[in-house]
């Protein structure tokens, strides 16, 4: 057995300090990997969109479809992307114990998410019934891709609500702010997906 005491005292690590530890948390990695698998899911859906589009010989959108309306989805996507700004505010202020500011930030992102969902439903209402999920592959792609994304945004809105409750209960602050960072990661990711969906489902039929 080695009795190299000098080396041992040199290698001895400091006992964990009570303030924020260095390095990424396990939760950060968990969220990053979850986002990776979700990103792959959306990538596969968008790839399927183009696969079906380019194997479709009679034009795209198909002659029986009028093509997507652009006004509502443009506003919706813009609102969702802009809602990243208050989210960022919450990420910055929570570790500094500025609870009111971080509450405002989370509430801003929450409002942006809700507005997006309402606009998305209005957009579907405008497309239906001239285009339906069972009319043709174009309609299936349109509703299922936008629906999948909206479902993810709805889950994100639930996460934001959870953060608001945690802030109200005084459970987030200097000692504990990782949940805000993780939800923010997911929220930014939702905006990235929104841009991908917008470019694919709404803009690309006009190209």
């Amino acid at each position: 057995m080695s009795s190299d005491t000098t080396e041992r005292s040199v290698r001895r690590e400091p006992v964990a300090a009570p303030e924020a530890p260095v390095g990424r948390s396990t939760g950060w990695w968990g969220m990053a990997l979850f986002i990776s698998t979700e990103a792959a899911t959306f990538a596969v859906f968008l790839a399927s969109y183009f696969y079906l589009r380019f194997s479709h010989t009679s034009g795209w959108p198909p002659p029986s479809e009028k093509g997507p309306d652009l006004v509502l989805p443009s506003v919706a996507t813009g609102v969702l992307v802009l809602s990243c700004v208050p989210m960022l505010l919450a990420v910055r202020t929570t570790p500094r114990n500025r609870t009111a500011a971080s509450g405002l930030g989370v509430a801003g992102a929450f409002a942006g998410g809700c507005a997006f969902l309402v606009l998305q439903v209005l957009d579907w209402a405008g497309e239906y019934p001239s285009s339906t999920p069972s009319k043709d592959a174009y309609g299936s792609l349109f509703y299922v891709i936008t629906g999948l994304h909206a479902a993810h945004v709805a889950i994100g809105v639930g996460m934001l609500l959870f953060l608001l409750a945690s802030l109200a209960a005084g459970r987030l602050g200097r000692e504990r702010h990782e949940p805000v960072n993780l939800v923010a990661l997911y929220w930014y990711f939702m905006s990235v997906v929104a841009l991908g969906v917008y470019a694919t489902v709404y803009l690309s039929p006009y190209l």
């Binding site: 057995m1 530890p21 948390s25 990695w29 990997l33 979850f34 698998t37 792959a40 999920p133 043709d136």
Partner: protein, 648 residues
């Protein structure tokens, strides 16, 4: 570097079998840790445990149970095919049997069995006390169990999936009944478990390695499990998307695969095989990791060319995403894409070859000790080379087009999957049995197990090469006597029964070991990895003192093991007050902090039960009920997140 300790001959029990370094560490902190890591006993404890070893063991037992069911369905098929124009089962039942056999063996046996070993041994090998997310770990087990029961429940109901394990549209879009809904929903449900489990294993390996275990000291098995988990993270989405589209097409009349309405049936094949080919390596890579664990131990030397073995493992994972079209050479795709994928398919044989030569070099330069685990490892090398050679043949497009959908393909993938996964998994069972149960197995019985299984395996699957080349298509339920296939089918059936006998003997060997009291020492084989520095079976907290890792072979370097005794009075290495584990940096494994870990809880079981209810309600078409179950899941998950392990 040479081994400093010789293996103890099996059955020859040392005085008390405890490593002196661990004995010192246990004496210092063992009692306090036992209290901190105590779990509820009895049935409550069974339902609420989050201990990675209990969950890992459960994965192994459950996967073995599903293996037995799928194996029996294979025996029924082989009995049907023993002679021409047999009528033991009707064609409809036969369709269900071969579909369920393939689906279950791939999804509910091979992947979860690997997950069981990963769950049990990855935390032990990296020197930590639990998985990164213990409660998620329990959740992924419960989902695996319930999705497996869901899938198998379809057979007694007469509604088992019947479109082949790759469920090609347009056929599967049109089959009436719930058969294909069991398939798509069951696989989507299982995917939750696989994804969560994969993320858990990756984070554990990245953030919880013992101090000093830099990336170049990570055991090959851990590399293999991490590579496999990354593959699952990226390969499951195409399968999920395909199954979601299939479910929507069947139930809600969407048109993804409806060619008359702008859909495309080849889309299913692309999506399925974009998952399906990586899946071959998802199954085989961890099994190869087991081989890379067994061979150095019984060759009594470190693995040869460690960096190349690791690079080959990772390269296999990456390249496997670029070869899926070789499953589709008969579809009629463009020649350019066929050529590209033929080349990629040839390329992927290179990393497999590198690993093969590394194992041979390890054996060559070592002093080989033969026992059951080692026999299975050697059997794997032979069988996997055979399966690999026929695999390279499929890269030749013209040959592939001749034998596609014939028994030649069946022979090939059974050599790859049985030879490449089942044999290593059996080897792993024999190798780790003493660690998991604290009992030694009867060596003579183990050798009988190997001889029968290996002989039965070859007798079953080798003749299929020939019947395939003679033109026998896969998935036919019977054949005429004058096709010249009779003798080869009879041989295969005889082999299947021999193989079945081999598994009965194997099971008896393990049962005998449990009944006898041949206590296993801490480290019966004189191994090189940290898992053997724990008790047999390990205590709940695994390591009384988290060691410092000084090399790739910590139990052979003469420094890592003593570090357990040296650090026994350091709070950061013993963490005795609470349920805690050490968090270290991703690349260099430097200590970052001490993490509080959650204790046992019933919540994961509730989440899994609500999800099961949701899936069953979707199956029967009660969509409103399924939505209610979804709300239930959200409520329980919210409760779960609110009650996190205390900080400080």
């Amino acid at each position: 570097m040479t081994a400093t300790r010789e293996p103890i001959a099996s059955g020859d029990v040392a005085a008390d079998g405890v490593l002196p370094e661990r004995a010192l560490a246990e004496a210092a902190v063992g009692d306090r840790l036992k209290k901190a890591w105590e779990e509820e006993p009895g049935l409550i404890g069974f339902l609420t445990t989050v201990n990675h070893k209990r969950i890992g063991r459960r994965y192994l037992v459950t996967a073995a149970f599903f293996f037995m069911l799928s194996g029996i369905s294979a025996l029924v098929m082989r009995t049907q095919l023993v002679s021409p124009n047999n009528d033991i089962v009707d064609p409809d039942l036969y369709d269900q049997l071969f579909t369920l056999h393939g689906t279950a063996m791939i999804f509910f046996f091979a992947t979860p069995m690997n997950n069981g070993f990963g769950n049990f041994f990855l935390p032990l090998m990296v020197g930590t006390r639990d998985m990164a997310f213990p409660r998620l770990n329990a959740l992924s087990y419960w989902i695996f169990l319930f999705s497996g029961l869901f899938m198998f429940a379809s057979l007694p109901l007469g509604m088992a999936p019947n479109g082949g394990w790759f469920a090609y549209v347009p056929l599967t879009r049109r089959i009436d009944g719930l058969n294909l809904d069991f398939y798509s929903l069951g696989l989507l449900f299982l995917a939750v478990s696989s994804t969560v489990g994969a993320i858990n294993l990756i984070v554990t390996a990245l953030k919880m390695r013992a101090p000093g275990m830099t990336l170049n000291r990570v055991p090959v098995f851990v590399w293999a499990v991490v590579t496999q988990s990354f593959m699952l993270v990226f390969a499951l989405p195409p399968l999920d998307v395909a199954n979601l589209m299939l479910f929507l097409d069947r139930r809600f009349d969407t048109r993804f695969f409806d060619t008359s309405k702008g859909g495309d049936s080849v889309l299913w094949q692309h999506l399925f095989w974009l998952f399906g080919h990586p899946d071959v390596y998802i199954i085989v890579l961890p099994a190869m990791g087991i081989i890379s664990t067994i061979i150095p131990t019984f060759a009594r030397r470190p693995i040869a060319a460690y960096p190349f073995v690791v690079l080959a493992t990772v390269a296999t994972g990456i390249i496997s995403f670029g070869v899926w079209v070789h499953h589709m050479f008969a579809v009629g795709l463009s020649e350019v894409s066929q050529t590209f994928f033929a080349a990629a398919t040839l390329t992927i044989s290179l990393p497999a070859g590198i690993q093969m030569f590394a194992w041979i070099a390890t054996l060559w330069r070592g002093r080989v000790v033969i026992n059951t685990a080692m026999l299975y490892a050697l059997g794997f090398i032979v069988a996997f080379v055979m399966g690999g050679v026929t695999g390279v043949m499929f890269a030749v497009v013209t040959f592939d087009q001749q034998v596609t959908d014939s028994y030649f393909v069946v022979a090939h993938f059974h050599y790859v999957l049985f030879g490449g996964a089942v044999l290593p998994l059996l080897g792993g069972l024999f190798y780790w049995w003493p660690k998991m149960t604290g009992r030694m197995v009867n060596e003579k019985g183990g050798i009988w197990s190997f001889v029968l299984v290996f002989a039965g395996f070859n007798l079953t699957f080798f003749p299929m090469h020939i019947s395939g080349l003679l033109g026998m298509p896969r998935r036919i339920y019977t054949y005429d006597g004058d096709y010249g296939w009779t003798v080869w089918n009879a041989l295969s059936t005889a082999g299947a029964y021999l193989l079945g006998a081999g598994f009965v003997v194997t099971a008896l060997v393990f049962v005998e070991s449990l009944l006898r009291d041949r206590k296993a020492p801490d480290d019966p084989w004189g191994s090189n990895t940290l898992d053997w520095a724990t008790a047999s079976p390990p205590e709940h907290y695994n390591f009384p003192v988290v060691p410092t890792v000084h090399s790739l072979n910590p139990l052979w370097d003469g420094r890592s093991l003593p570090s357990m005794a040296e650090h026994r009075f350091e709070d950061q290495r013993t963490m005795t007050e609470e349920h805690m584990a050490l968090r270290t940096s991703e690349l260099d494994a430097r200590v970052e902090t001490v993490m509080p870990m959650p204790g046992d809880t019933i919540v994961p079981l509730w989440v899994a039960l609500f999800l099961t209810a949701g899936v069953v309600l979707l199956l029967v078409g009660a969509y409103l009920g399924a939505a209610v179950a979804g709300v239930g899941v959200a409520a329980v998950v919210t409760w779960w997140l609110w009650h996190r392990p205390a900080v400080e």
